[in-house]
Symmetry: C2
Subunit: 563 residues, 2 copies
């Protein structure tokens, strides 16, 4: 390879520096220049909510290596041998001349940088539509360090007590937690009927209820019409009324920064992000693109998707560098794996959601399982509510969603690995996952879910989702909703319309039930519900179903005793 290989990288936050560092290691003679518009380099944007909340104490921590060295221009020059031009904007790419025109934001001087290979790591920016009043003071987006600093100043001056967060996605919800922790009253406004569109509706419901238990107000199916105030924000006007506030976090999503790419004539994909092949190369063979400005392929559907994440950005950087340096490497795509901390809950998903899977043509079977994440007698065991999505035909795992205080990330990562490998639920059922009481139940939650899925696919029981049961109740359908828990449990919490016959008495009392009617059984998690269905079927009942997930996964109102 040419000893003077010139590499220009546009973008200095995550994927850009990663690409540069890897190229330098693979090809030390490369002449690498990194262009960054902002002041800060290689900072952990994903850490900003935790810097706002004070969990991360200092700005510097987000910009340092694990041993505490700040990744500034001097660091990049001395340690990584990368020449950094920060406070410098890339104005245009001239692909035919293989050069980039840049302008210093400090002195306004322009210069032209020739390249052999160009890497675009231009990132994304928050979507900010031209809503009336959007330029009022104290309306923030959260992407740059400067955004976090602005929010922190208001918080420290106690000028932000009442906050409206527009957008109930990952960033909106992370900021909700951060601001509640700082003592703010937070209202989340979401235009769709649920927050956290990464989850299916019923799973998002559990997060909503949990947020409400923390004092957060959730306004779904609500559209912002205007921001009101003289100088700074005073209220948010929505189609469902006005919300007084003194700060707004605007977090309805991000868009890839593609201006440079578009003007250079590079192909843009269906998602609006830069189109790249598996080597991270754009439509110009000498231009690569990485990180939040490019689209990925969904590994299950083969469709283009735009899911900007720091984890993906780092992988992109490595793959692009490998290919630039002649090491073949192909980035296969993503599963849409995502996780978010919501107070003591983890909220996570991978693969396809139920609707997404149906739209992609799969014959979908879903499983709801609530269970402790460790041996149930181990004191730190915590609840995990899981939804598994399986393809009936191939018996392959398609997706997993987990919500709750337990170790959700572990189950999601195992599921992501299993989906990547094309594993069936039968294979998952037999996985040799590590077991000791402080870490998992003897049958891990994922194995239990796979076993329930196998039972369903093998026709061992029929089931209804809580949503299907709710519809029956709302329609006043003539069916028996049979709670088989203990009288004590039934006394404490119950669902309207359900009658009680404890499982331990069902072998003697089944004759109390009419054989002609549809019976839907449930318990706390629906294991006893399943056993009850087996008993009834053994005694000649034909129309018996189990409600998926039991009481713990009932996303509607539950009657609670006065206790």
């Amino acid at each position: 390879m040419d000893r003077k290989l010139k590499i220009v990288i546009v973008g200095g936050v995550a994927a850009g520096p990663k690409t540069g560092a890897r190229i330098q290691r693979l090809f030390p003679q490369a002449d690498i220049t990194l262009i960054e518009k902002g002041k800060f380099l290689s900072y952990a944007g994903c850490g900003l909510p935790y810097y706002v909340s004070g969990v991360v104490k200092e700005q510097k921590e987000l910009m340092s290596t694990p041993v505490g060295v700040v990744r500034d221009s001097v660091f990049f020059q001395n340690v990584k041998n990368i020449h950094v031009l920060n406070r410098t904007e890339a104005l245009k790419i001239e692909p035919l001349k293989k050069q980039v025109v840049v302008k210093s934001l400090l002195d306004g001087l322009e210069k032209t940088l020739p390249y052999d290979k160009l890497v675009l790591a231009t990132g994304s920016r928050p979507v900010v539509p031209p809503i009336e009043g959007i330029r009022l003071r104290n309306i923030f987006t959260l992407q740059r360090m400067e955004d976090a600093e602005g929010i922190k100043i208001l918080l420290s001056e106690e000028q932000a007590k009442n906050v409206v967060i527009v957008g109930g996605g990952l960033i909106g919800i992370e900021m909700t937690e951060a601001l509640v922790q700082k003592g703010c009253q937070v209202t989340v406004v979401e235009k769709f009927p649920q927050i956290l569109s990464i989850l299916d509706w019923e799973m998002a419901q559990f997060v909503s209820s949990y947020l409400e238990s923390k004092g957060v107000k959730i306004r779904v199916s609500t559209t912002v019409q205007a921001f009101k105030g003289k100088d700074h924000i005073e209220s948010v006007q929505t189609d469902r009324g006005e919300l007084p506030c003194d700060m707004v976090i605007f977090a309805i999503g991000v868009r890839p920064n593609t201006t440079l790419a578009v003007e250079a004539g590079l192909s843009i994909g269906p998602t609006g992000a830069i189109k790249v092949d598996g080597t991270m190369r754009t439509s110009d063979p000498d231009i690569y693109a990485v990180g939040d400005c490019v689209e990925s392929t969904n590994l299950l559907t083969g469709e283009a998707c735009f899911i900007p994440l720091g984890s993906t950005a780092n992988k992109h950087g490595r793959v692009a560098a490998n290919n630039i340096c002649g090491q073949n490497d192909i980035f296969p795509g993503v599963l849409g794996s995502a996780i978010c901390k919501v107070f003591d809950f983890a909220v996570a998903r991978t693969g396809l959601g139920e609707e997404q899977a149906r739209k992609s043509g799969f014959d979908v079977v879903t499983i709801l399982t609530p269970a402790p994440d460790k041996a149930h007698y181990y004191p730190s065991a915590k609840l995990l509510m899981m939804k598994m999505i399986v393809d009936r035909k191939s018996r392959k795992l398609l997706g997993l969603q987990v919500v709750g205080p337990g170790a959700a990330d572990k189950r999601i990562d195992v599921a992501a690995t299993a989906i990547s490998a094309g594993m069936t639920i039968d294979q998952i059922s037999h996985l040799d996952l590590c077991y000791a009481p402080p870490y998992s139940p003897a049958m891990d939650n994922l194995i239990t879910a796979a076993d329930i899925a196998r039972n369903k696919l093998d026709g061992l029981f029929e089931s209804l989702t809580p949503m299907e049961v709710k519809k029956k109740i709302d329609n006043s359908d003539d069916f028996i909703f049979l709670d088989v828990r203990s009288p004590a449990e039934h006394q404490e919490t119950s669902i309207d319309k359900a009658i009680l016959i404890p499982l331990g008495t069902l072998r003697e009392r089944w004759m109390e039930l009419p054989k002609g009617k549809e019976i839907v059984t449930f318990c706390k998690i629906s294991l006893r519900g399943y056993e009850a269905a087996c008993i009834l079927k053994a005694n000649g009942f034909k129309n018996v179903k189990v409600m998926d997930g039991g009481l713990l996964m009932w996303p509607y109102e539950i009657k609670r005793s006065g206790k």
Copy 2:
């Protein structure tokens, strides 16, 4: 299937009840009898150390369902429709007559139970060799509830202050933690040169050092010769001196209970456990065996292995029941996944260890990576020390070992899934694991380890293990041991013989080093060590190697400054 199908199950702790419950659900007309020698049924034996330590408060918790119902004979009869004979011993199987002779331990009465299918879930028992004094009082094994109660009584009477644990395996180490928590001075005696044979030597060293930091004395390569005392234990005599004590926990391993099977002429495998096929059927087509009394197949080597675990027992039970009821199901085998809590450390492994892999004919490459388990700036991030074992030829992951305070179980379970799927390190490198700062670094530890493995296999750097470097030092080999950390880090902790040239100055100072000599670089984790090697190679040095894992994975003495 015959409406009167008679099932007899011998063994009521884990795999037996699981098999029975599953058969009942699949085939409600079955007539199921469960024989158990002890008083207690279906209890969580794995929870006993936590009951001894008081983390689990009540005996009852280990014998209850998640909703608090004690799994006694009445429970099994009413809820599971399984007839239980506890305090009953199975004396012999008469395979030709298809019957089992049992004896009540309460009244001594014998009876004969006919079966259509017999399930042996006879479990295992602690190995207790005929060492002099082994019958002295206050020498315990730990398997049954009664053992735990006996230990707890001594503890409550403060008669066990000085405890010797014979055997540094999983149970021995779990009991070490439990007894230290109860205020005992604990000495672990292990006949092999390391504790925790589930780990490779250097990984076990980190656990040993950690245990020593908790005040535990570790005596490896030490054999017990006799137990001394008049009535109760007073000291343990070893080939390396006498250890005074007032309690001994004997935990050198377990052996499968095969007497019934052997006497019935069933095939026994090379490990001494009952041989079964993938359906869990023994050499007699009407006799199945499950749980701790059977051997499994190692999924990577195809060899028989004896690894009794509650997680495996539950899977066995389901597979046996499925096959007995005509649902095809095959238990594929195990990876030897295991995990153990050691105070604030998790100690875990899956797949093959380094030596085990070499013996099985793999061309082994190992990787050592220490890293925080979450974004390094996130306050709850904790260190994970990982060893990855890879096959050079196929590039497949063979094994993973993890030690440290971080979330080891997550990485082990992902690795176990990847190994089961036959994934290469290239595939692992691209896994879409879920990422947010409270859960993982942007590049998960496992992905980083896979990337280092790829670098090694692709010839991007040469490395030496800490053990290889130590040997060079001990042999006074003529080489340069180059620490490239900062002066402050070097001042705080260092390795004897290492010289310092910080990475940030190496591009200017490399000429200080002689080109003819072998140079071995390292830093805290060996990322900077790797970059230093790249710089040196770019400047014409030919013989440069990186020490795997850096200072954090150096299993020998480290010099610490007075601070």
